[in-house]
Point group: C2
Chain length 309, copies 2
């Protein structure tokens, strides 16, 4: 199911900048090819699209409400560097999570996973390089212009803390170790919030920061990101139960086979669907104050609710 | 062979700050324990000691020569954040390089490697977390004081580009792919310059930057770092040929067994020893203009020349 055209509009610019970031490093040919396979191959680019559209939505807000306080307004800059960074973090995490020692997946986005396409050694090192490149991406100029240092620092803080959350969530998901007093639904929520939700919420906050939104006005973007981050994961879990591998392009029912906690397992399929609808309404109400300017973000959350792969 | 006391003097402060950086992240217990095992266990801390002593040596330079131009002098800050960052990068690289898919090492610094001590999955994820923590370390305050953004940006650029070099060097070392027109000695030099030299040189430059040295005055620190980075690697290669596992605390003769290019293999043992002496003299001459202030750096390079493990 294709993304709505308004949502996809910046895709070309985002992918061109992502390719330029990767091309900026002096790398052995095989390493560059591995990174390009993992980061520039088929993918929905949800996270960078969120960063981009949150920046656009927020820039209307920043220019309206802070008009008389330009002196103290945080610096703004193109969101393209942050777009490349969040996509590189996402791509790195897929490559390492797919490794034999972790999820042991052979198929990703309809193609062999990187360690199947190349070697396990290359997948480890290419993942490390993509993680490094994500931080470096924030330091590279966009269209010849360097990011203001104070903005770069706040974006790098978002990026590092959400990446750390993601790794912590993956540890919980594959190895357990959750606080024993949590109920099953609290355990699932904690894993998802850290493993997938944190980076999605950070992608939204980073976009708003690129628009020069002050710390105090980030809240709706953060909460929108948290709502759709959780929605995204529940939809993924539902797809895992309901679809077959040829449709989603990856091995399915693996969560069930691995005995992992999921929303459909804890709430039932209907309960999980209700939760998706509730989160979709929450996202819509967070966007309402932004009016027409937030249409792409609204269409993105509606698409997430409906998506089948 | 213990480091000279003047060199080791800041070790306690460095290790305390490194531990504080790791403690600052909210992590699952098992992940935290894995990171502490790999990053706080026995180790010589050569890289952060270089950062520290380059900062101290350079700060004399910065305060002497730039006295009348305080306005345009780059910002200075404690080198402890950079010390923690370079050690975390080094520790991450050892954990991933030791993995079965790469060097497949069981022993490191006299103890089981992290994937032997825990699991392969944990070693992958703990390595990822240490790499992330290295970038985050630069954003954390030291003794309650945040680093000036412009300094943080220049340090993060050094850190990301040297880490990328290190990964590229590891790709060449384990998978080849070097330009075919290079002679054997040029191939070995290129691998070492990227795999180990880049981070060591960056550690030195980062220290000088923390002292507020201007871009144009970094050169002697960068060249000192390059000389001792290469010296370090040649000594490692010589130890690999000459020592046994019980003495160095890791499996030896593995380079020979793996058919890897090394300095002793290309230059012969005596030729490699001559190269170490030449680099030691080069380091000493680079430090000469700094006089007594550079004594710890001089003692460190002399120790590297003499070290047996």
């Amino acid at each position: 199911m294709a993304l709505p055209p308004t949502v996809e509009a910046p895709l070309h610019d985002i992918e061109r900048h992502l390719a330029a970031v990767i091309a900026s490093f002096a790398l052995p040919d095989a390493l560059r090819a591995a990174i390009e396979y993992a980061a520039l191959g088929p993918g929905k680019r949800i996270r960078p699209l969120l960063t981009w559209h949150c920046a656009k939505t927020a820039s209307a807000l920043a220019s309206n409400s802070d008009e008389r306080a330009t002196e103290t307004r945080p610096a703004a800059h193109s969101p393209l560097a942050a777009c490349a960074a969040v996509e590189l973090i996402h791509a790195f995490s897929l490559v390492h999570d797919d490794l034999p020692a972790l999820d042991n997946d052979d198929l990703r986005r309809g193609r062999p996973t990187l360690h199947r396409h190349t070697t396990e050694a290359m997948a480890v090192l290419a993942g490390d390089a993509m993680l490094t490149a994500a931080f470096a991406a924030m330091l590279l100029p966009v269209d010849g212009e360097a990011m203001p240092p104070s903005l770069a620092i706040s974006l790098l803080a978002e990026l590092s803390s959400s990446t750390m959350d993601m790794i912590a969530g993956q540890v919980h998901d594959t190895m357990g170790g959750l606080p024993p007093h949590l109920s099953p639904i609290e355990q699932v929520a904690l894993i998802h919030r850290r493993k997938t939700g944190a980076l999605i919420a950070a992608a939204c906050r980073m976009g708003a920061r690129c628009a020069g939104v002050s710390e105090g006005s980030l809240e709706p973007f953060a909460r929108y990101g948290e709502a759709i981050g959780l929605m995204f994961q529940i939809v993924d879990d539902l797809l895992d139960v309901e679809q077959n591998a040829s449709h989603t392009g990856k091995r399915t029912r693996k969560d069930h086979a691995a005995g992992k906690q999921t929303y459909p397992a804890v709430l039932g399929v209907e309960g999980a669907r209700d939760e998706v609808r509730r989160l979709g309404m929450q996202a819509a109400s967070l966007l309402a104050p932004f009016g027409e300017g937030a249409r792409p973000l609204l269409e993105l959350s509606e698409w997430l609710m409906r998506r089948t792969r």
